[in-house]
Symmetry: C2
Subunit: 348 residues, 2 copies
């Protein structure tokens, strides 16, 4: 048993989570880790994965029955995916010093069931272990199944990817262009410098949604309309894309970060629904856990694409932020302020 | 050649079409029918089908490239599906007196290519020939392919149908409950009397969307959530249904009549898009012409269901309005004012 700092849920967020003051979303506390029983391990968190989906678990308006992962109870450490080191093991499968991927919480130390830990496999080419949280973790798998299975992108398709400079989007762009070989891949991102980076990953072009010409730029870039739209953002960009879908177009609905921090009445409404009917568009909401039985197969494809230099997962595709434990919620908040590029990871 | 009255497009509609005055959408004119050449026939219109999709062809905002049937040019007779009688034939396949289904216009007489005419097949049980425009025409086929193929409704499913007292909706309710045998079929309609009629067709219950308790009624009626939503209306009802979809729910997007007569900025926005992601919902826009190769197969199923008394297509499922030719646009407008029940047909 050790003393551990934890960031726990203090008050659900109705809009953008609040870091300080009387309405602060999280509180920093000190607690006992507890001691591992048989089959359990004591872990020390090394890296936290920062994911938009975490926002939903602390939302003030969402009903529990409508979430695939339940709401976080107030007082509990914020749920997070992490890379951790085994400090003490009461399980045969793990020993002190092993590095694992694990669902834990914003806690320096924690006792968890050993079965919830997956030992990190060695990566080729001296790639950073942090890729287990990103390009070779849930992020890469989300991109893989989303573009291949949900959107069914093929060589002849014009593909648009929003949030293209984000963790998932930057993988989708590469998979669509370099692995599937789609005819045209168009990224959408929030600044010119992000757009240039997305183009360096292989996008034929990338459009800045903060440009005043964005809508016209999109029309110009899609004279043959759009067969596949991989949607990471929802809101106004989605609404605009509905007017550019080709007949029988497919939309993979992966995220709606635009709306994560809006209370009900401020949500940006979708006004072009009718285009779904006239163009016979198909939309599928999905989550990566639907494909859990095929993770190994997908990881082999991703790893081969890295070795073949089709998939660039160098340090630019990650945004690793060094921080003290006090900084954990603040670093996570970068997801929602548009300053982030690639997979955002907190290094403790 | 004969003299014929025609209703032609005068001025595109930006909101609800206008019947009279300086901004009238249509104009009544007199014209020559023209004389049939070889392979053509002169037809006399007997019945017009009234369809919400006609609204799109005279819309002021829609771009041509986004319609599967092109916009109607100004000055042309309003396009309409009809039952007509052959008055004069220059084609081997048709003779004077034959009754046909045909895409024509709001015109008393017209010359058309004989290949565009389909001779009416005899119906069992002395059913009215007008069913060729409704339950046994595009309406019934839309319902059939929408509920079976697009929404993939099965016995275990809870099904919700909006516009349930409309032409398509009233067929969907019957197919879902009586032919597929779905566990629960819930209709949505605009008055208590319509709701009682929908229940008489087999719906387990039907909810009045004009009731002040509608949202709560829907929650109460769907404790296990909704597997299939057949959407004929779009707008606020669709938005509400998104909050009631079960995991892996399917939405057949058939119509959005709520928005047909709203100019761009007044369109009712969809705010609950995020539910599509959290519940992994699938949405498919469709139109019946995608299934043209299977029309015969479907009609056989529909006819057998009529003979087996599973499908009630008596006079109540049609709303045949006797009218003079001057009344044609006014009768069509009943589609948009909520006074109509079942398939709206104009009898000249």
């Amino acid at each position: 048993m050790v003393k551990t700092c934890q960031w726990v849920l203090r008050k659900r967020a109705s809009d953008l989570p609040i870091l300080t003051g009387p309405d602060a979303t999280f509180a920093l506390i000190e607690a006992d880790s507890g001691a591992p029983n048989k089959g359990e391990v004591l872990i020390k968190s090394l890296y936290f994965s920062n994911d938009p989906s975490q926002r939903g678990w602390v939302d003030a308006f969402t009903e529990n029955e409508r979430l695939y992962v339940p709401l976080l109870p107030e007082g509990a450490p914020m749920r997070a995916f992490a890379i951790a080191e085994i400090v003490e093991s009461k399980a045969d499968s793990l020993k002190k010093g092993d590095l694992v991927r694990v669902w834990t919480g914003w806690s320096e130390y924690a006792v968890v069931d050993a079965q919830r830990c997956t030992k990190l496999a060695p990566l080729p080419n001296g790639l950073s272990e942090t890729h287990h949280l990103g390009a070779l973790g849930f992020t890469g798998l989300t991109a893989y199944f989303g573009i291949n299975d949900v959107a069914q992108a093929r060589k002849d398709d014009v593909v648009v990817v929003s949030g293209a400079a984000g963790a998932t989007g930057s993988m989708v762009v590469q998979l669509a262009k370099k692995v599937i070989g789609c005819k045209m891949v168009i990224g959408i991102a929030g600044s010119d410098s992000k757009c240039r980076w997305v183009e360096s990953l292989g996008a034929d072009t990338c459009l800045n949604y903060n440009s005043s010409n964005f809508a016209q730029d999109l029309v110009k870039a899609t004279p043959e309309f759009v067969n596949v739209y991989f949607d990471n953002v929802g809101g106004g960009i989605l609404d605009l894309l509905l007017t550019r879908m080709a007949k029988y177009g497919r939309i993979a609905a992966c995220g709606a970060i635009t709306n994560y921090n809006k209370s009900g009445n401020n949500t940006i409404g979708i006004k072009n629904w009718f285009e779904i009917i006239t163009m016979q568009v198909q939309i599928k909401g999905f989550r990566v856990m639907d494909y859990v039985g095929r993770f190994e197969e997908a990881l082999q494809v991703l790893l081969k694409a890295v070795v073949d230099r089709k998939l660039k997962i160098d340090s630019e595709i990650e945004h690793v932020v060094d921080g003290r434990f006090e900084d954990v919620p603040g670093i996570w908040m970068k997801l929602f302020t548009g300053v982030n590029q690639g997979k955002l990871i907190t290094k403790l």
